[in-house]
Every structure is written in structure tokens, then in C-alpha cells.
């Protein structure tokens, strides 16, 4: 491959969230990447791995604590013209019409009103929104709203388009249509864009769109590998090459290299500092049940993903599998997943037996749950404020993660009847 003109260069970028006092929490660790002209690159990794943070450092929204980012030979010091971004939740201004939303970026560049109007209408036309110029975003469906987001990005004639999970808030069909439309515009050369950088956690989406995929590992975020996708557009999901690539990516993402700390654990942090993902006990049970009954206790994740269709906001298939692995109810091996003996026992059990198993495993394998329970056991009145444990784990993780981790522990402990929580008083206690 010949050496092409380079659009973005990220050199040794690290970023940490400052928590005011105490230790900083690392999010990105020594990232190096280069984006060349005429390519679509996908940043692929699990949720919370720091992909979006990396995208925002490139866009100038976040200033990284270390390292340097150069875009078209100029060092980034803040947002600047020529870069456009499409947001996961659209980020449209609800009080502006479609037309006014699209004109927004032009207004910031002080484009004359007539010119502004003309260019905005052209972009609206190109993206298939004609007729909706005077509608307000709340009157549009999600798919149409993201079209407005795209039009708003394209109208400023950017050379670099940054996309932060642009299709993940849409239903499967709508996402597919919008993706195809964008790919058409790109391959037909209708755009001024020289390069696209997209963040996604959807493996198929990355394989469908990208020329190059950068695999992202977590805790803290770092690049674990690079995959060139040689297939020509449009790509066929059902072709054997496509399937093979998807499977191999699943394998790479679940492999132990993906994570830095904690003996190969998929969960950042150790001991009570482990960051948990809130996955409801219903989904955990549903996963085990499906795996046991439909697949006889063993299958691969892409297949299971098709059957279960666990929504991203509910954690996704991969995260659910990893959580169950943490509980020792199943084992992950590459893209394969199988139930352990305890997992099979769980699947066969009735409500009470399942609760008993969950209770035991929660206490044995989730250190934070064990810790809370032992504190409650020691105390005379068997009660302790949640804030105390929350403060403890906040030494190891950012506030948002601590909040989710606490919520997760409460949800699981309630199901397991390991301990109870009173929201009014903010206290954990043991039920007699």
C-alpha cells in the first residue's frame, strides 16, 4: 500500500479524569493512531472503554492530559472548523427547526444569510430530508433526527467526519437504511469528507463499513490490534469471509490481552474496586436459560447475539456473558460460550434454588457484595449506610462508575436476598 496523505495523527495520548482530590483515574493509555485520506476507520471496543473519550480528544472537545494530536498538520488546541461530529443521541436543538439546526454550523462560520440558506437546503436535499425543513426535531422519528444530525455535519463541508455510535440509538432496520445511505454518498464521492472516524461497539457494523478497524481494550483504554478489511463495498453480511472476520473479532475482543489488570478479568479494577455493569437478573437468567435449552449449554456469541438481541442499554450480549463468567456460571473461550456445571444447575433449578445459587456465588465471587455482607454481619443492628461503601469504591473509579456499581450491587443483592437496601434512609440492612 502506498503511503497516503495523513489527516489525523495521535501521538502518545493518555488521558485521566481528575477527581479533585486523591488519585486520577486513567481512561486512555498511550494511544497512537494515524488516519489517512480516503479511509473509514472504526474504533471498536466494549462500552466504557474510552473510545468516545478518544474521539472527543481528536475533535478538540477534550484536552488530553498527555500527548499530542495533529489534524492536517496543525496541533489541536480546541474545536475548529473543518471537523464535524455526529452524536449518538443526535444533539439537535429542540427549539430550532430542521433547517435552523442544519444552518447552525454555518452561522458559527459567519456565512452570509442567503448563502447559508442555500447550502442548508442543498444538504437537506442530499440527505433525503426535503419537506421536513420547517419541522421541529420532536416531530421526527429517531432515524429522521439522525439524518438532521448528518446534514448538519455535512453542510459545513468538513474534511473529517467524526461519528460517535451514530446508529446505536436507532432500531435495527432504520440503522441499516441510514448506514447504507451514508455509504452510498461516501462511495459515490459526493462528499467533501476525506476521512471518517467512527466509534462503535457493534462488530458487524464495523466490518460492514470500515476499511480499517482498531480494536480497543479497556481499563484503561488502549489499542489492542488493527484489522484491515479488504472486502469491497457493498459488503454481504452472509458471505463466509464476512462471518469469519466477525467471529475472529469476537475472539480477539474477549481474549485476555484486551484487558490490562486483574488476572485476565474483563472487569476493570480489583477486589471491591471492581467496576460492575448493571445487568438485570432477568437478563442474566434469560441468557442462562436460552443457552441451556436452545443450545444445549454451548454456542458462539454471534449466534447467541442473534437469538437474544439484548439491547445495548441493557448491557449487550458480550457484557452479559462476561458478567456470568464472573459469577462462574459460564465460561468464555474466544467467541465460544458454555455453561459451567453450576450454570447448568442454575438453569435446572426452581425459583428458590436459583436464588440460593445466586446468593452463594454473589457472596463468593463479587468482593464488594461479600464486604457489605460481612460489615452488616458484624454490626449489632445489622445496618450500614450505603454512602460509606460508595465513598470506599470511589477511590478506585470515577463517580459515574461508582454509582452504577452500587446500583448493580443493590439489584443483585435484592434478588439474591443477600442483604436489603432502604432507599429512604440510604442504608443497607439484613432482613430478619
Amino acid at each position: 500500500m502506498q503511503k497516503q496523505h495523513c489527516i489525523v495523527e495521535v501521538k502518545n495520548v493518555s488521558h485521566a479524569y481528575n477527581k479533585g482530590q486523591g488519585s486520577d483515574i486513567p481512561v486512555l493509555d498511550n494511544i497512537n493512531l494515524t488516519l489517512y485520506e480516503d479511509e473509514i476507520v472504526c474504533l471498536l471496543g466494549r462500552s466504557g472503554a474510552g473510545k468516545s473519550t478518544l474521539l472527543r480528544t481528536i475533535s478538540g472537545l477534550i484536552q488530553p492530559t498527555q500527548g499530542e494530536i495533529t489534524v492536517q498538520d496543525t496541533k489541536m488546541t480546541g474545536p475548529r472548523e473543518g471537523l464535524a461530529m455526529v452524536f449518538q443521541n443526535f444533539a439537535l436543538f429542540p427549539w430550532l427547526t430542521v433547517l435552523e439546526n442544519v444552518e447552525l454550523g454555518l452561522e458559527a462560520q459567519f456565512v452570509a444569510p442567503d448563502e447559508k440558506h442555500r447550502r442548508a437546503l442543498k444538504a437537506i436535499d442530499m440527505i433525503g430530508l426535503d419537506g421536513y425543513e420547517n419541522a421541529y426535531p420532536r416531530e421526527l422519528s429517531g432515524g429522521m433526527q439522525q439524518r438532521v444530525g448528518l446534514a448538519r455535519a455535512l453542510v459545513i463541508k468538513p474534511f473529517l467526519l467524526l461519528m460517535d455510535e451514530p446508529f446505536s440509538a436507532l432500531d435495527v432496520l432504520t440503522a441499516e437504511i441510514l448506514r447504507t445511505d451514508l455509504m452510498d454518498l461516501w462511495t459515490e464521492g459526493q462528499l467533501t469528507i476525506k476521512s471518517i472516524l467512527m466509534v462503535t461497539h457493534n462488530i458487524e457494523e464495523a466490518v460492514l463499513m470500515a476499511d480499517r478497524i482498531l480494536l480497543f481494550g479497556s481499563n484503561p483504554g488502549h489499542i489492542i490490534g488493527e484489522i484491515h478489511v479488504p472486502m469491497t463495498q457493498p459488503r454481504n453480511r452472509l458471505s463466509p469471509d464476512f462471518r469469519a472476520l466477525v467471529d475472529s473479532i469476537y475472539e480477539k475482543l474477549t481474549s485476555k490481552e484486551g484487558q490490562r489488570s486483574g488476572k485476565g478479568s474483563a472487569f476493570p479494577g480489583m477486589g471491591i474496586g471492581m467496576v460492575l455493569t448493571l445487568i438485570s437478573t432477568n437478563i442474566l437468567q434469560g441468557f442462562i436459560e436460552t443457552l441451556a435449552t436452545t443450545y444445549n449449554g454451548q454456542t458462539d456469541l454471534p449466534t447467541l447475539s442473534e437469538t437474544l438481541r439484548i439491547k445495548d442499554e441493557d448491557g449487550g450480549v458480550l457484557r452479559t456473558a462476561e458478567t456470568l463468567q464472573l459469577f462462574r456460571f459460564c465460561e468464555l473461550d474466544g467467541a465460544d460460550v458454555r455453561l459451567t456445571n453450576k450454570g447448568k444447575e442454575f438453569a435446572a433449578g426452581n425459583i428458590d434454588e436459583r436464588k440460593k445459587l445466586f446468593h452463594d456465588h454473589l457472596q463468593t465471587y463479587i468482593p464488594l457484595a461479600a464486604r457489605i455482607r460481612s460489615v452488616l454481619d458484624e454490626r449489632q443492628h445489622h445496618a450500614a449506610p450505603m454512602s460509606r461503601f460508595r465513598a470506599e469504591i470511589e477511590d478506585y473509579m470515577p463517580e459515574e462508575s461508582a454509582e452504577i456499581t452500587m446500583k448493580t450491587i443493590i439489584t443483585w443483592a435484592r434478588y439474591a436476598e443477600l442483604f436489603a437496601y432502604d432507599e429512604q434512609t440510604g442504608k443497607f440492612y439484613l432482613e430478619s
Binding site: I62, L92, L96, L104
Partner: protein, 537 residues
């Protein structure tokens, strides 16, 4: 120096009905002048507080205290101050009155705007920064629109609350200085002096018409318009309606105004201010500013301690002893008792009625506007009717003057309860019916917890207003007859009449203290509890 003031007194208010429209107009103009001033302060002070951490450290605590200070107590100081600025000129008195109304309006508006600026959704801020809007464009395109629904609502509440003060501030007497500005308030005080019941009735009627007009022609259209700035992405369940707005819309007046507005905003937004290069939203923090920050903080503390010392010295010079302070404290406790008792009584009356009304949509449509109207209506205009009754039957003022302090503010409880019942989820009502939850259990487990947050808002507003009202409700007169109840309000009122600044300041400070303590000990915990209860946290 007193010359022109005497002249002012020489053109007295005449109780001619043909003068009333003129007086009503003057009163309304004063009100709008004050609201413009409030809006100006909102846009400047709140923006400053939201953008600068150093300014925030001064402005926010100051606002917290200022909104607890009884506005009518201010009057003495502002009148003296502004009359000193414009010696012997009506302008001084006029400005003092407007300033008094302003102090009743501004704080919650500033707070609301500040809160909105601080809570602009992150994704919109990112979009704004990404598309390189400068600070000026971001302010008008993002921050102001986002703040509009809250600001419109708070402006409306301020307007409603301050008719009371516009009436009270027109006829001012501080020590030996008596001033009557032409307006409904002065008409009323003249009518009371002359024991002219017909004139009082006319004032009530005029005020009712004025409030009805401003509500229909100004506020309803604005509320209907501001609906589009609500963040809810789905079309809102019930759009606010306004026939004036609809007519303007149909007659394409709005379109015309809109086009004018577009041209204007295009001009406004294309101003190229000399801005710094675009900044990242979350830059790496530098610690070089820390020294200046701590110096700033030290300066503020110095100022605070200095002013407390000054206050102590001032009280000592005015012959105020510990004994006086404890006496005033006892008076404060009496008024506190009065306020709390009346809020409880008003709740016992209006919560059941509010629930009854709220459950019947047809009745709501009928009653809700009336309750809002009554909340805006300056209750002090109605005082004479009650005073006459007390005088006639020789009732005990300590008891029978008390209802006056909640006369105007009880409606807040009523319409907030109605609003709470209206948004109470229908499926919960149905579930309660299906499971046959009735009578006591229904009140206790279903409806009261459901409307609690709304009730707290209403009760808080009612109590706050009542403290203020106590200053004019604990001392009242009819002709030469003067009735007085024991309490902090009466203490402040009497100190104002005799022109004893030391006592006024002590009374006002004591009342502010009571209100602040009450806010932190009762209302705030109740508010948090309510928020937790309904998961609105």
C-alpha cells in the same frame, strides 16, 4: 430640601372614579418597569454567576439571603436612599417604589436562569462547541432558549406575587415623610383614611380588570409561545392555550414578528466579538489560578466579617441591647407560630378541596384559572373589609388579624394541589379503584404521597409570602382606628412609621434569620423527601 416634597403632598389623591384608569395605568407601568429591571439583572447577574466561579461565590449566597429578606422591610432604606439621591424630586420616590417591587421579583428569576445555565445538556454543549459557536452565539442559540421555560414560569410567579407590593409601596410613610405616588395603592390608602367603602370596592374592581387583561394579553400568549423551548422530545401532552396567541397566529402577526426577529437575530449573531481561539470543553486544569482564588476567598470572608462587626456596632449605637434582641426574638416566634398555624389551617381546607377539584377535569378547567387569578390578586386591597368587621364586632386583633397574612398566599397551596392531582398518573388511579382502595387508606397511601411534591412547593410559597404580608397585616387601620397584633411584622411596621432605622434593621434581620432557618430546617428536607418519594431526585 423638603420643598418639592411638600408640593407632592399638596396634589393629593382624589377619589374620583374618572381618575382610576390613570392610576391603574401608573401602577401597571411601575410593575413593568420593575420586571424589566429584574430581567436585566437576571441576564447579567445569573450569567456572571454561571460563567465565573469567583462571581458565583458572591452572587449565589447573597441571593439565598436576599430572597429570604422581607421585601417590605426594605422600603424604609430604599426610600431614604433614593430620596437622598434625588433630593426633593418625585423621581427619587418613584425609583424607590420600583426598586421595592424589583426586590420582590428578581431573586427567583435570577436563580432559575442560573440553574438553567448550569444544567444545559452536555450533548448540546458539545454540539455547540464542535460547530465552533463562539460564546455570544452559544448564549443566544443554546443557553437562553434552554432557560426560557423556567424563566417564563418564574417571571409569571414574580409578577403575580408583586402586585401585592406595588400596592403597598405607593403610599409610603417613613418617619415624618409621607408620600403618595399616583396609583391604585395610594387610592386605597386614601380611601381607608376617609373610611370610603365605595372607593375600596372600586379599587378591587379595577385591580381585577387590570390583572385579567395582563394575564390574557401578555402572559398567556408568552406561555403558549415558550412551549416550544421545552426539552421534552415528544410532543407535550397538553399544550398551553391562549386565544390571543391563536388570533395573532392566524392573522399572521406572529409570522411578521418572526421575520422581523430573524433579521434582528441574524444581525445580532453575526457580530464578530474579538474572541479567543475556541477552547476545549474540558481543558486540563491548571493550578496557577489557585493563589488568586484563595486571595479572593479571603477578601470575601474579610468583607463578611467586617459587615457583621459593623452591624453589631450599628445596633449598639442605636441603643439596642440583648434585652431588645430577645424581645424581638419572642415577637418573631409569635409571628412564626402564626405563619405555621395558618399554613396548616389553609392546608386542611385547601388540600381536600384541591383533590376534589383535581379529580374532575371539567371543574379543573373552571377553577384553575380562578385560583391563579386569586393568587395574583393583591390581597391587601381586601384588608379593609375584614378590618371593618373586626372593628365593628370588637374582635381580638391578635387572633382575627392573623388570617390576613395568608389571605393572598393560600391560593398557592390550592392551585399547586390541583396541578399535582392533574398529573397524578391515571393508571395509578385505576389501580387504586380496581383494588378497592378507599377512604382513609386511599388518602394516606395513594393521593397524598402522589401530590406531596406539589403540595410542598405550594406551602413553601405560601409561607414565604405570609412572612412578608405580616408586615402590613399585623398593623392595620380604618380611618383613625388602628388595630395591632403582637408580632415581628407589627414591630417592623411600627419602627418604619416612627422612622427608627436601628429597629427596622433589627426587625428585618431577625425575620430574615427566621426565614433562612425555617428554609433549611423544614422546607428543604421536606423538598428532598418529596423528591425521593416520587423518584424525581
Amino acid at each position: 430640601m423638603h420643598q418639592p416634597l411638600i408640593k407632592l403632598e399638596a396634589t393629593p389623591i382624589t377619589l374620583l372614579p374618572s381618575n382610576l384608569p390613570k392610576y391603574a395605568l401608573y401602577t401597571t407601568l411601575r410593575m413593568f418597569a420593575a420586571i424589566l429591571l429584574s430581567l436585566f439583572c437576571t441576564f447579567t447577574l445569573a450569567t456572571l454567576a454561571a460563567k465565573s466561579k469567583r462571581a458565583e461565590k458572591v452572587i449565589i449566597p447573597a441571593l439565598d439571603i436576599l430572597q429570604s429578606v422581607p421585601v417590605l422591610g426594605f422600603l424604609t432604606f430604599t426610600v431614604t436612599f433614593f430620596m437622598g439621591l434625588f433630593p426633593g424630586n418625585q423621581a427619587g420616590v418613584e425609583i424607590a417604589a420600583i426598586f421595592a417591587i424589583f426586590t420582590a421579583q428578581a431573586w427567583n428569576m435570577i436563580f432559575s436562569f442560573y440553574q438553567s445555565l448550569r444544567t444545559v445538556p452536555k450533548n448540546l454543549r458539545e454540539a455547540s462547541a464542535q460547530f465552533c459557536q463562539n460564546g455570544w452565539q452559544r448564549f443566544w442559540r443554546l443557553e437562553v432558549p434552554f432557560a426560557i421555560p423556567g424563566l417564563v414560569w418564574n417571571t409569571m410567579m414574580s409578577m403575580s406575587g408583586s402586585w401585592f407590593f406595588v400596592v403597598a409601596s405607593e403610599a409610603i410613610s417613613v418617619g415624618n415623610t409621607k408620600i403618595s405616588l399616583p396609583g391604585i395603592g395610594s387610592w386605597l390608602s386614601t380611601a381607608i383614611n376617609d373610611k370610603n367603602l365605595t372607593a375600596v370596592g372600586l379599587a378591587v374592581l379595577t385591580m381585577a380588570i387590570v390583572i385579567l387583561l395582563y394575564d390574557q394579553f401578555i402572559f398567556r400568549p408568552i406561555v403558549a409561545w415558550s412551549d416550544k423551548f421545552n426539552m421534552g422530545q415528544t410532543a407535550s401532552q397538553k399544550k398551553p392555550e391562549s386565544w390571543v396567541y391563536d388570533i395573532m397566529n392566524r392573522a399572521n402577526i406572529l409570522g411578521f414578528i418572526g421575520r422581523f426577529f430573524d433579521v434582528f437575530s441574524n444581525m445580532l449573531l453575526s457580530i464578530k466579538w474579538p474572541y479567543k481561539h475556541n477552547q476545549p470543553l474540558s481543558p486540563v486544569e491548571t493550578y496557577s489560578n489557585k493563589l488568586i482564588d484563595s486571595l479572593w476567598l479571603a477578601l470575601l470572608w474579610g468583607l463578611l466579617i467586617g459587615s457583621i462587626l459593623f452591624l453589631i456596632d450599628y445596633f449598639r449605637a442605636g441603643g439596642i441591647t440583648i434585652h431588645t434582641i430577645s424581645h424581638v426574638f419572642i415577637l418573631g416566634s409569635i409571628t412564626l407560630f402564626r405563619v405555621l398555624l395558618l399554613v396548616i389551617i389553609a392546608s386542611l381546607i385547601w388540600v381536600p378541596i384541591g383533590v376534589y377539584v383535581g379529580l374532575r377535569p371539567k371543574l379543573v378547567a373552571l377553577v384553575q384559572p380562578i385560583a391563579q387569578f386569586l393568587a395574583a390578586f393583591p390581597a391587601n386591597i381586601l384588608f379593609p373589609f375584614i378590618v371593618i368587621t373586626i372593628v365593628y364586632y370588637k374582635l381580638n386583633p391578635d387572633i382575627w388579624l392573623s388570617p390576613l397574612i395568608i389571605l393572598g398566599t393560600q391560593w398557592y397551596i390550592f392551585f399547586n394541589v390541583i396541578a399535582g392531582v392533574c398529573v397524578f398518573p391515571n393508571d395509578l388511579k385505576e389501580a387504586a379503584t380496581i383494588y378497592n382502595v378507599r377512604s382513609y387508606v386511599w388518602w394516606r397511601k395513594v393521593i397524598l404521597p402522589g401530590i406531596f411534591p406539589y403540595y410542598v412547593t405550594g406551602a413553601l410559597t405560601a409561607a414565604g409570602g405570609s412572612w412578608n404580608a405580616s408586615i402590613i397585616a399585623e398593623v392595620v387601620s380604618w380611618g383613625q382606628t388602628k388595630l395591632e397584633a403582637h408580632g415581628l411584622g407589627a414591630y417592623i411596621a411600627n419602627a418604619t412609621t416612627t422612622g427608627n432605622m436601628h429597629q427596622v434593621l433589627l426587625g428585618v434581620a431577625m425575620m430574615s434569620l427566621f426565614i433562612i432557618v425555617l428554609n433549611h430546617l423544614i422546607w428543604r428536607p421536606m423538598y428532598l423527601y418529596a423528591a425521593r418519594l416520587t423518584g424525581l431526585e
